[in-house]
Symmetry: C2
Subunit: 689 residues, 2 copies
C-alpha cells in the first residue's frame, strides 16, 4: 500500500456498514426480506407484474413509464432531447421554445426513437454454459455469440418489428437471461417544456442538489398510426411522497462496475477514465467555442455538447471515486476475502482460483490496444454521422449475407430493426457541423496513432484533416435518405459499386478496425466474461444468490425513501420548491427562466410552495433517467432525472450515507402542465381521468 | 500492492542499472569520476568557468548561449516565439514569414525578454538554516522568506537593473545557494526562420524522433543601446559531433521531481496531473476552434495554443511515467531503503524519521485547496492579460510599501525589475481575444468552484461569463501603456482611486486569493521544504554528496554521447538529414515546408545530406530548450530543442536506455543561414570570423 493511502487507512475509520437501500434488483429476484426490513413492504406477484408492464425502456439508453391507457409515456426532457432537436429547424427551435401538441393529431413522430416494454424473462444460463463449456478466448467468444444469436433469433420470431429479444449477461458472466420485449417503433412527441426550465442550472447544477428542473417530456407510442392501447400503466399522484416515505424506482440502469476485479478497476482508474476524460475535455472545449459562432451553430451542436458535458461529469465523479483510498481499500478487502475463501477450498481453487490473474492479464492487452481500438473501431477518429452511416451500410452488406450466428452483434436478426431505423432516420445532418467535427476527430486520429500509422497515412494522405473533412463532406450523397436506403437495400453489390467518399473511407479502415475489435472481443472481453463467470460462481458459493448483478440496461427495481443527507456536516433537506427557482434565477443562461414561468407567476396561477425536486435513497445510475418513482400503491410520485454528485461513485459501490437519486416531484409535473403550459388535457390523462 | 501491478512486478525484471549519463549537475559539484568513466573527460576549472560564462538564461524559462563577442545569443525559435509574436502585426507576421535583420540597426527589441548570465555561486545554507532553525509552518515560511529576501537584496546592490540575485533551494530544501547574475534587459531579435520549418511536424512530431526542425533563433543583448561586449562565448563547429562522441549540455533545466516522496508523487499522479490535463485539454479544444475562425484569430492565439499543446504533451508523458508500475515500484524501493536506513539509527530516526509522514499530511491540504488555489490565485479563473496587469499593480501598491523581507516573493527588490519590464511591455493586447479567453476561464471558475461559491457570486453577480468578460474588456484602460505606468508609479493612492473594471475585479478576489496562497505556502510548501531538507540530509548521510539536486531553472551540466536507441525492438539511428525533411513534406500544415526551402533545394545550393537533427544521451528536461550542445573543446555542435517521448519520464527518473535529448545539428544551422536565408554574416559571426 502506498504512503498517502497507508497514512489515510491508518487514520480513518471505514464506516461502510448499513447498506439498507442498496441494490438494483432484477424483478425475478427481489430481496423480500431486505425490503420488508428497510421500507416495510413486500411486493406481491401482481405488484411486480404491474411494475414490469408499466415500465418502459427507451432505445437511446433512457428509462420511462407508461402513464395512460392510450400509450402516453413519461420520461425526461433530456431523454427526448435528441428527438426534440431532430424535429427542430433553424426557424422552429423546439429545444428553446418547448412543444405542446394541441391535439393527438399534432403529435410529432421522433425520427429515430424506439420504446421497449419487457414481457418475459427466461433463464438461459444452462444453454449458454453448455455451448461454451471448456472453451477459452476466440472459441469461447464465438460459441457464446452463436448461442446467443440463436436464442435471440428464435425468440424474436415474426413479425420482427414488434418483438425484440436480448440475451442479457448478468453478474458479469455469472448468469444469462433472455429478455423478450414488445417493441414500439412509432414514438411521437406530445409535450416538452423549454430547455431553460428542463435543464435550469445547466452543467453547473448538473449532479447537484438543491435543484430546480422540470426535466420532463411526454411521448406517446403508436401502433398502426393510432395511439397504442396499453393494459398496464402508472397513474400520477400529485401529492407525491412525504419525507421518510418508501419510494421505489423501476427503470433501466445502464452500467455499474461493482463486481469488477481490482485489475479492471485499476485499468479504469489509470487508463480508460483519465484518457477518455482528456479526449472529451478537449472536444468539449472545441464545441463550446463552436457554439459561440452563431445561434444556428449553437443549436446544431447543443445535443452533442450536453452529452459530452454530462459524460464528463459522470466520468470525473467515477475517477474521483476510484482515486478515493477508502473506496479502493474497501473493494480490495472484498476481493481479498473472496479470494481467500476460494483458495481455502481445493475444489473452488481449482475451478475458480486463476480467474483474477487471467483478467489481470487481459487488462494488459486492453491497455496495449486502447487507442487504436477506440480511434478506428470505437469511432473517436471519425466524428461524423455520414461515417456512421457509411460503416453501417458497408458492414451490413457483408454481415447480412452471413448466417445470423456469425454476424457482428449489432447485425443480428434481433437488432437489425433498430439499426435500420437509425440509418433511415429523417433527422437532418448539418454539413458544416460535420466538417468541423470530422476535421477535429481526424486531428485526434493523427495525434493518438501518430502521423506514421498506416491507417493515418491511408486516411489523410498528404492532406490536412480540414482538407480531407471538407472533401468528404462536400462529396458525399449519404445525406440523402434515398441514397442510404438504396445502399441498405441494394446489399453488397450496391455498396461495392459505390464511390461515395465516406463509403471509401469506411472501406479503407474496415480491415484494421475489425481486427482490433476481434482482438478486443477474443482477448479482452471473452477472457473477462469467462472469468467473471467463475468469480460470480465463487461469490454465489460464499454469499448465496441474495446478491444483485451489475447494471446492464435492463429492468431493475431499487427501493429507498425520501431523505436528505449531510454535506460537509450540514443537513441537505430533501425538497425544493417552485418558488426557490425564482430565487436562483439570474436572467443569464443557464440560470434564466423562460417567459412562460414569469407569466404564470405574475398572474398568480403558479403555486410557489409546490415541491419541485426531491431526493431519495434509491440506488440508481445513468440509464435510470426517466424512471418513475412510485409508492407502495404503484402510483407515480416522482420522475428521476439525476443523481447527486455522490451518486457517481455508485458505479463502484453504494453509500447510503450520501448517494441520492434526484427526481421531479409528481405535483410539479401536474401543476406546471396545468398552470404554465395549458396542458390540462395531458395532466388529466395522467391522472386517469 | 495492487493486483495488476503485483502481477507485473512478478513478471518483469527491472533493468534499472547503468545510469552512466544520469544527472543535471551544478557546476560547483561536477561528478569528475563518473564523467571520466562515462565520456573520458574531466573538465578543468578553466573549462567550467568558460562554460558558466558562455551560458545564458532567458527570463521566459528557456536557455541559450553566447555565440559571439558582440553579444549574439543562440536559442530556439520556440524560446523567442513570444517575442517574435509580439513584434508581429496583422500585416507583418514574423512567425509565419521569419525575420532577418539585414543590419544590426535593424534588429528589433523584444518587448519583454531578459537574459541572465551566471556570475557567482555562494553557499548560504548555513544562514538560511540558522534563520529557520526549530521553526515550522508559517513561522518557518516567514523566517525563510525574510532571510532569502535579505540575502538577495544585499547581493543585488545598485544599479539594480544590471544585477540579479536569487537564492536557489537545492535538493528540495537540502541546500540553499545564492546565484548572482548579470542581467541584460535589452534583448533584440536578429534572426528567426519561418515557423513552418522551426516547428516542422508541429504537435504530432513534438517529443518524437526522427525529427526535422530548424528550431533556432538568434538574439542579441544590448547595453547602452549598443551590442554588449561579452568576454566568453562558444564558437560554432559546423562539423558537429560524430556518433559516439562525448557531448555536454549546459543550460537551465526547469524542474524535476526525482527527490519527491511517494506521497507527493501520488498527489501528482492522482490529482495534479490528471486535473490539469483535463483543464488544459479543454482549453486546447477551445483555442483550436478559435483559431479556425480567421487568419488573424489563428495568429493571435497561436502562442498560447502552442504553449498549451506542449504542456499537455509533457504532462501526459509525466502521467504515463507515474502510472508505469515499474517506475513506481522503483521509486518506492528507493524510499523504502532510505527510510529503513534512517529508522535503523536512533539519531537519524529522531531527526528525520517523521519527514515522510509530515509531507504526506501536507498533500491532503494540497488536495483540499487544489482548485480554489489554482482558480483564484493560480490564474486559471482569469485568462486575461488585463487581469494579470491589474493584479500586478494592485499588489505592487501594497507590497512595495512593505519592508523587502515581508513582501510576496515576486515583489522582492531582486525581482522587481523583471516584473516592471513585463507590466510595461509594449506587446499588443487583443481585446477580442481577451474577451474569448476571459469568458472561457470565468466559466471554468464557476464550474470548478460551483455557482454558489462566494467568489463566483462576487465576480459574476447575475450575469453570464460572456457578459462579464465583455463588460470588463470594453471598460478597461489597462491596454494603454500610459495607464499601466501611471498606476505602477502612482502607488497605493493611484490604485485605490482607480475604478478600472479589471482593478476592481482583482480587488474583489484579492483577499481570498492571498488567503489561499498563504495556506499553500505555510501548510504545504513550507512543510514540504522543511521535511525535504531532512530527507536530503538523510540521503547525504546514506550516499554522500555525490548526488545531484532536482532541477531548479538554474545552470546545470549534463554529459553524454551521440547515440540512438531501440524503440519496440528496432534501432533508431541518431541523425536525420536535411534531405529527409523533403521526404516527410506533405504540403499540408504542419508538414508543409516554407517556400525558401524549396527555392534553396531547387537552385542546388542546399546540401541535402547535411545532418539536420540528432539525439544524445544527455539528461535534460524542459527549460533546457535553447541549450548549446558542446564538445570537449567547448565548441557548439548542436542546439537542444526537445527530448524524445521517453525523456518525459525524466521528471521522475533517468533511463539511459531510451531517454534522449533532441538537437539541431550545428552544421544545419550554419548551412541554412548561408544557403536558405542569406544570413552569411551571422554564420560568419558565429564561426568567430
Amino acid at each position: 500500500m502506498n504512503a498517502l493511502r497507508a497514512w489515510l487507512a491508518a487514520t480513518l475509520l471505514l464506516p461502510l456498514a448499513g447498506f439498507a437501500a442498496e441494490g438494483m434488483w432484477t424483478l425475478d429476484n427481489l430481496p423480500a426480506k431486505a425490503m420488508q426490513k428497510s421500507v416495510g413492504f413486500t411486493p406481491d406477484a401482481a405488484w411486480v407484474n404491474k411494475v414490469m408492464q408499466s415500465s418502459a425502456r427507451l432505445g437511446n439508453g433512457c428509462s420511462g413509464s407508461f402513464v395512460s391507457k392510450d400509450g402516453l409515456v413519461l420520461t425526461n426532457h433530456h431523454c427526448a432531447r435528441n428527438c426534440i432537436q431532430e424535429l427542430s429547424t433553424a426557424k422552429a427551435d423546439l429545444i428553446k421554445d418547448g412543444f405542446l401538441a394541441k391535439t393527438r393529431e399534432a403529435e410529432l413522430r421522433c425520427p429515430a426513437l424506439e420504446i421497449n416494454r419487457l414481457e418475459e424473462i427466461t433463464d438461459v444460463s444452462a444453454k449458454v454454459d453448455a455451448a461454451t463449456k471448456g472453451k477459452t478466448g476466440e472459441a469461447f467468444a464465438k460459441a457464446k455469440k452463436a448461442e446467443i444469436a440463436a436464442l435471440e433469433s428464435t425468440c424474436t420470431g415474426t413479425p420482427k418489428t414488434a418483438r425484440k429479444c436480448e440475451v442479457v449477461t448478468l453478474y458479469q458472466g455469472g448468469r444469462y437471461h433472455l429478455y423478450r420485449y414488445h417493441r414500439f417503433d412509432d414514438v411521437r412527441l406530445a409535450f416538452a417544456p423549454e430547455e431553460a426550465i428542463a435543464f435550469f442550472g445547466g452543467d453547473p447544477d448538473n449532479f447537484n442538489f438543491p435543484r430546480f428542473d422540470l426535466d420532463m417530456s411526454l411521448l406517446r407510442v403508436y401502433e398502426n398510426d393510432a395511439p397504442a392501447k396499453v393494459a398496464s400503466f402508472f397513474p400520477l399522484k400529485p401529492e407525491g411522497a412525504a419525507e421518510g416515505e418508501a419510494t421505489f424506482i423501476t427503470g433501466h440502469p445502464g452500467s455499474t462496475q461493482r463486481d469488477l476485479t481490482m485489475a479492471q478497476l485499476e485499468f479504469l482508474r489509470d487508463v480508460a477514465l483519465p484518457q477518455r476524460l482528456m479526449l472529451s475535455s478537449e472536444y468539449r472545449g472545441y464545441l463550446a467555442r463552436y457554439r459561440t459562432e452563431g445561434a444556428e451553430q449553437s443549436r446544431v451542436a447543443t445535443d452533442d455538447f450536453f452529452g459530452i458535458e454530462n459524460g464528463l461529469k459522470v466520468r470525473k465523479g467515477q475517477l474521483e471515486a476510484l482515486q478515493d483510498p477508502e473506496v479502493f481499500a474497501f473493494k480490495k478487502q472484498q476481493e481479498t476475502e473472496l479470494r481467500a475463501y476460494v483458495n481455502k477450498n481445493a475444489k473452488l481453487k481449482k475451478d475458480y482460483g486463476s480467474a483474477w490473474d487471467e483478467i489481470a492479464k487481459a487488462q494488459i492487452t486492453a491497455r496495449n490496444i486502447y487507442w487504436e481500438h477506440r480511434m478506428l473501431e470505437g469511432g473517436n477518429g471519425f466524428y461524423s454521422k455520414y461515417f456512421d452511416a457509411a460503416r453501417t451500410v458497408l458492414r451490413a452488406a457483408e454481415e447480412r449475407a452471413k448466417p445470423n450466428a456469425e454476424r457482428l452483434e449489432e447485425f443480428g436478426d434481433a437488432r437489425l430493426p433498430q439499426l435500420e431505423q437509425h440509418l433511415l432516420s429523417t433527422a437532418p445532418v448539418y454539413p458544416e457541423y460535420e466538417k468541423a467535427t470530422l476535421a477535429y476527430s481526424l486531428t485526434k486520429l493523427r495525434e493518438y496513432l501518430s502521423p506514421d500509422h498506416p491507417m493515418v497515412k491511408a486516411v489523410l494522405g498528404k492532406d490536412s484533416p480540414e482538407t480531407v473533412a471538407a472533401r468528404l463532406v462536400d462529396g458525399t450523397k449519404l445525406g440523402d435518405l434515398a441514397t442510404r436506403k438504396a445502399l441498405w437495400e441494394g446489399g453488397k453489390k450496391a455498396v461495392d459499386e459505390s464511390r461515395d467518399p465516406f463509403i471509401e473511407l469506411a472501406r479503407k479502415v474496415d480491415g484494421a478496425a475489425r481486427a482490433l475489435r476481434k482482438t478486443y472481443e477474443d482477448e479482452v472481453k471473452a477472457v473477462e466474461t469467462k472469468n467473471a463467470g467463475k468469480i460470480a460462481a465463487a461469490r454465489f458459493a460464499l454469499k448465496g444468490t441474495s446478491v444483485y448483478p451489475d447494471a446492464t440496461f435492463t429492468l431493475r427495481l431499487s427501493f429507498g425513501q425520501v431523505k436528505g443527507w449531510e454535506e460537509k456536516g450540514k443537513p441537505v433537506t430533501p425538497f425544493t420548491t417552485i418558488g426557490g427557482t425564482f430565487e436562483r434565477e439570474t436572467g443569464a443562461d443557464p440560470f434564466a427562466l423562460p417567459k412562460s414561468w414569469f407569466t404564470a407567476r405574475d398572474n398568480g396561477s403558479l403555486n410557489l410552495s409546490q415541491p419541485f425536486n426531491f431526493v431519495s435513497t434509491n440506488d440508481i445510475i445513468g440509464g435510470n433517467s426517466g424512471s418513475p418513482v412510485i409508492n407502495k400503491q404503484a402510483q407515480i410520485v416522482g420522475l428521476v432525472f439525476d443523481g447527486n454528485i455522490r451518486s457517481l461513485g455508485g458505479a463502484y459501490w453504494y453509500d447510503e450515507r450520501s448517494n441520492r437519486a434526484v427526481s421531479v416531484h409528481s405535483g410539479a409535473i401536474s401543476e406546471t402542465l396545468r398552470t404554465v403550459y395549458g396542458a390540462g388535457v395531458l395532466a388529466d390523462e395522467m391522472a386517469g381521468h
